[in-house]
């Protein structure tokens, strides 16, 4: 059951992205930025938690989920460390993903060459 929920939640978030691409002139880079920011704001407002509760990976894998993890981390950091936690919490919670992106990104870029397109 949680697979179906994940499929639908993730799919719907992607549909929102697709509508933004087709109907507005937002570039993919801007959409990524908007989604991460929106995820963090929705989390702060307490709206994203129920979505994660329902959709599981369907809500955490899309980029708003990255914003969710950042905001969750910051809130948790504040609870544990006070004002310092606002600065350390977000990146601490997402350190694994960010580091993986840098390391795997670097390796892939070094090991492979872009292919010609047709």
């Amino acid at each position: 059951m949680d697979y179906i929920k994940a499929f639908i939640t993730g799919g719907v978030i992607c549909i929102i992205g697709q509508i933004l691409i087709d109907k507005t002139n937002l570039t993919p880079a801007r959409i990524l930025v908007c989604f991460v920011t929106a995820g963090a704001i929705l989390t702060a407002l307490g709206i994203y938690d129920p979505i994660v509760e329902f959709g599981g990976a369907g809500a955490t894998v899309p980029l708003p989920g990255f914003g969710y993890a950042l905001a969750k981390g910051a809130i948790k950091g504040v609870k544990e460390l006070g004002v310092l936690g606002a600065f350390t919490g977000g990146v601490t919670a997402t350190a694994g993903g960010i580091t993986a992106a840098i390391v795997f990104g670097y390796l892939a870029a070094v090991l492979f060459d872009p292919k010609e397109k047709s």
Partner: protein, 338 residues
């Protein structure tokens, strides 16, 4: 008042109109799978062509095209008075680096995709006026080098909208001469920079169509000619929608060119090749002219054409700052005599 001008924007070459005595074109693999494949001199097997980068591959295409153009006319670089060249890359590095190898006195020109007729427009009066005997005009573009400069990295998983165009990989060259056999350039109409406020860099055809229409209209007004005086009216890379816009804009001015109007961007690929609206790039009009159109003139199927390459003169910076895309088109009339 100059003796050789007609109207506001046109030169009339009457003293010794330059002849196109040699032509060459090299294209990429995808272009070699298109409908005009048989007209090109050489089709490279892959986009890198054994070089270390796409920029180097593009440079090699331009150099080999220039050499091939000369070889066909049995000439050496030292026989050539001027080399005019242009391309799409920043600081027109392809043309300048090619000129370094060729060792011909050189003017590098930037007119974006209008480069082909831009170079010819400047070369032709030099010969007609007796200031040069042989001038070589070459331009090039490369899908991969242009794409990464102007749009996204190739491996980015993004969709292209229906109005997007596909940059032609290739290089085309023509040799203009005061002496020899070949079709003549009789008129040169220099375009103005026209901007109707289109900002969408995925809709270049719409940005350039007003410039194409303006130059063609200016040519008709200056020369007193009309669409019926030409077998073909050709634009560079307006693609499907830009072509339609140009037809409509000229209809408003009272010129109906539809039945004899082709756009190089609509000719070079099949619709099934997934290029969306059509082709673009400096090489688009260059290889269609040097490969296809001049061959049709040699074969006697067409005798008089008006050729207008079209260019979009924006940069990444201007587009990011919200400026619209200025367009330009330069026209040359090419006529088979005798």
């Amino acid at each position: 008042m100059s003796k050789h001008r007609m109207g506001g924007q046109t030169l009339y070459l009457t003293q010794n109109p330059p002849k196109i005595i040699s032509r060459a074109s090299i294209v990429g693999k995808k272009e070699g799978e298109g409908p005009l494949a048989e007209y090109f001199d050489k089709i490279i097997e892959d986009d890198l062509w054994g070089e270390k980068s796409w920029e180097k591959a593009e440079r090699r295409m331009l150099i080999e095209t220039a050499e091939l153009t000369l070889r066909k006319a049995k000439m050496e670089p030292r026989d050539i008075n001027y080399l005019f060249g242009g391309d799409l890359l920043d600081q027109i590095v392809t043309a300048t680096f090619a000129a370094r190898s060729l060792g011909i006195p050189f003017y590098g020109l930037y007119g974006a995709c209008s480069s082909m007729t831009q170079t010819m427009s400047l070369a032709a009066p030099l010969i007609d006026g007796g200031y040069a005997d042989n001038v070589l005009c070459v331009t090039s573009s490369h899908f991969c080098s242009a794409e990464r400069q102007f749009r996204y990295p190739l491996e980015m998983g993004v969709q292209r909208p229906p109005t997007a165009q596909w940059t032609v990989t290739g290089a085309g060259g023509v040799l203009l001469s005061s002496d020899g056999k070949g079709p003549c350039i009789t008129h040169v109409t220099t375009g103005k920079v026209i901007d109707f406020g289109i900002k969408d860099t995925n809709y270049m055809g719409a940005a350039m169509a007003p410039a194409a229409a303006d130059t063609i209209r200016a040519h008709f007004e200056d020369t007193g000619r009309g669409p019926n005086d030409y077998d073909l009216i050709v634009t560079g890379d307006l693609a499907k929608y830009g072509r339609k816009l140009t037809i409509d804009l000229l209809k408003k001015d009272g010129y109906d060119i539809e039945d004899r109007f082709i756009d190089c961007g609509c000719e070079i690929f099949y619709e099934s090749q997934d290029v969306h609206a059509g082709a673009s790039g400096c090489a688009c009009s260059a290889v269609v002219l040097a490969g296809y159109l001049l061959r049709k003139m040699e074969d006697g199927e067409i005798n008089r054409i008006l050729m207008a390459s079209t260019g979009a003169l924006h940069s990444i910076i201007t587009s990011q700052q919200g400026d619209s895309i200025p367009g330009i088109a330069h026209a040359v009339a090419i006529e088979k005599k005798g």
